[in-house]
């Protein structure tokens, strides 16, 4: 389908007709940009569904006692919310949408190395999602284990755990194949002259991410297979009644799921690293340091999984080893924050919506990261483990980090992707409301955790009431903000096109080509003779 058209006029990727037209054309496309958009649209659907579940949970928690649902529904809801947000939104997240769309462009390639495999990854993603969703309607009811599927509860509960776990397994494969594809692409398809140290930092982030996807995901895959075998065939691995060790399940789960949090955040950091120099009109501060820190996060992040298990009954030795390693993995994140800040120094800052999102990202990411330090420290984690504090931490860093970066990137690359311009005033207003709501929603949870409110609580004691009210109100404010942001973008998409090849005066390769990009991106493969951010 990618045969080079002979005509002078090169159709852009949106209007290009391959073998099929319309929807079929999209569903059979191997164009990395279209695949990026396929991910984008499907992901937005799941994200909004997850968001509505979040809102419903907050509504339930507005005061003690039953408000709008029973305990079983609530338990099913946070499980599905966690599964959706983690496996369907933030793990593919920035990498699958913007990585697919921009990685080949950023390194001066026509596509990824394996375009058909790329499409297959998307199909696996959709199939996985469907399987996860069927768990809601088939069998004995929605799974109610939490997204962590801890044994032995996940082996005992009557609910439809198998479907959910199978879905997650398939999603894992989708993620592995995407990572594999990106790594090979970066090894093979960099434009002439683009040495490794001339790659844009977003690409580097994806490179680190790819390796984590490749080396961590199979561990959780096999763990899920064992859970399935145990439930269906009765061959025992984790059930203590037959000598299994539930803590081993936790090890295996977190061997993946901790690195997975870096799968979520690394591409997000990469996107921010693209945005900051563009709007500071200045080359990035400490390119090499950022490259090294990306790889260091990927590497050290592999060995800190035990910090989720400080109270599980692990040996004391493991506990302090994991605590120490956890603190070490914070350093590369710190390096990035410092380099971003330093990039602003003596810049010529052009305050635009993507830049504002990036600044907000850094702020909430820091709060999330610092609360991570509280969790990494042994004595304090003992107190706040499995409380609302943890919930606040990961919403700050997952939603605040990856989520904010997702929207930052969307506002940054929107003109390139669609050749449309959104209304910046409304966008900024939406961001402002979103930001206020976000903090009002999650900050009280830090307090709740400190005074001892456990997580996954459908009901709570009156002593936790006040902060919960604040938090619920925050969720409404935030919903308003997000609604404004989304409506603004949808309206822009519907609006008329503009000639916006380089609206921000960016320096990376995507700004040298047309908006929307033509089918194979470049009329002629560029030859690169300088670093990525030469202003």
């Amino acid at each position: 389908m990618e045969e080079q058209t002979e005509h002078k006029y090169l159709p852009n990727y949106l209007e290009y007709r391959g073998k099929y037209k319309g929807l079929a054309g999209w569903l059979t496309t191997t164009d990395h940009k279209r695949i990026g958009l396929l991910y984008f649209y499907s992901m937005m659907v799941f994200f909004l569904a997850g968001v509505v579940m979040g809102i419903l949970m907050k509504l339930e928690l507005i005061s003690p006692g039953e408000q709008i649902m029973g305990a079983q529904v609530y338990n099913g809801l946070f499980t599905l919310h966690g599964l959706t947000m983690i496996f369907l939104f933030v793990i593919p997240g920035v990498a699958a949408v913007y990585g697919n769309f921009f990685l080949p462009i950023l390194i001066g390639a026509k596509d990824v190395s394996f375009p058909r495999l790329n499409l297959m990854s998307w199909y696996l993603y959709i199939i996985g999602a469907i399987v996860v969703l069927t768990s809601q309607f088939m069998g004995d009811g929605p799974p109610d284990t939490g997204w962590t599927f801890y044994a032995p509860y996940s082996l005992k509960t009557q609910t439809n755990v198998v479907a959910a776990v199978t879905g997650a397994f398939i999603l894992g494969f989708s993620s592995i194949l995407t990572g594999l594809n990106f790594i090979v692409t970066m090894h093979r398809l960099r434009a002439p002259g683009m040495g490794w140290l001339r790659m844009p930092l977003f690409a580097w982030a994806l490179y680190g991410t790819g390796w984590i996807q490749l080396l961590a995901t199979p561990i959780v895959g096999i763990t899920f297979l064992m859970v399935i075998a145990e439930r269906l065939l009765g061959i025992g691995f984790f059930d203590p009644a037959i000598g299994g060790d539930p803590i081993l399940y936790q090890h295996l789960f977190w061997i993946y799921s901790h690195p997975a949090v870096y799968i979520m955040i690394l591409p997000a950091m990469g996107a921010i690293t693209e945005i900051i120099p563009t709007f500071a009109r200045k080359t990035i501060f400490g390119y090499t340091a950022i490259v090294i820190s990306s790889m260091a996060i990927a590497f050290v992040g592999y060995f800190v999984w035990g910090h989720h298990m400080f109270t599980s009954g692990m040996s004391s030795t493991s506990r302090w080893v994991f605590s120490l390693l956890t603190f070490l993995v914070a350093i590369p994140s710190a390096i990035k924050v410092f380099n971003w800040t330093a990039t602003l120094y003596k810049g010529s800052i052009n305050i635009k919506t993507p830049f504002l999102w990036a600044i907000c990202f850094i702020f909430v990411f820091m709060i999330g990261g610092f609360s991570g330090l509280v969790l990494g420290s042994l004595a304090t984690d003992i107190h706040v483990h499995d409380t609302a504090f943890v919930v606040a931490h990961f919403h700050y860093i997952v939603f605040g980090g990856t989520g904010f970066a997702f929207f930052a990137a969307l506002h940054y690359w929107y003109p390139k992707m669609f050749a449309k311009v959104y209304n910046p005033k409304i966008a900024n207003l939406g961001l402002f409301i979103f930001f206020v709501g976000f903090n009002l929603l999650y900050f009280p949870m830090f307090y709740l955790g400190m005074i001892g409110m456990p997580r996954r609580y459908y009901d709570y004691l009156p002593m936790f009431h006040n902060a919960n009210i604040l938090s619920t109100i925050g969720s409404w404010i935030m919903a308003t903000g997000l609604l404004i942001v989304i409506i603004n973008l949808v309206r822009a998409r519907r609006g008329t096109g503009k000639e916006v090849n380089d609206p921000w005066d960016g320096k990376t390769l995507e700004w040298t080509i047309a908006s929307p990009p033509i089918v194979e991106n470049f009329e002629e493969i560029p030859v690169v003779d300088h670093g990525p951010y030469e202003y």
């Binding site: 080396l215 803590i247 090890h251 061997i255 592999y302 040996s315 004391s316 030795t317 493991s318």
Partner: protein, 94 residues
């Protein structure tokens, strides 16, 4: 198109490698049938690792390919080994 220069291993070398692997297999079986306490497992694993290395280097061609593949394999094996070690910080000291 592959842009690497092609190294063709002669048939004979494959046969030699195979013989070597078979001999090592026989040795493992023999060794594990003598009583050596905990060293049995160690010996078996060392031999298995040697066999694995041979397969990687010759059958899987690492020895003749670009270095990058070898480096990657080494890193992957090292990470995996480290994961086992770190896991055992728990089980050894419980």
């Amino acid at each position: 198109m592959s842009d690497e220069k092609i190294h063709i291993s002669p048939y004979k070398s494959h046969i030699m490698v195979l013989l070597g692997l078979i001999v090592l297999t026989v040795i493992t079986v023999l060794i594990t049938s003598v009583e050596m306490g905990p060293y049995n497992t160690t010996a078996a694993m060392i031999i298995a690792s040697i066999k694995g290395a041979i397969v990687l280097l010759y059958f899987m061609h690492l020895r003749f390919d670009q270095k990058i593949y070898g480096i990657m394999v080494a890193i992957v094996v090292a990470i995996f080994a480290a994961v086992i070690v770190v896991t055992f910080f728990d089980y050894l000291y419980r």
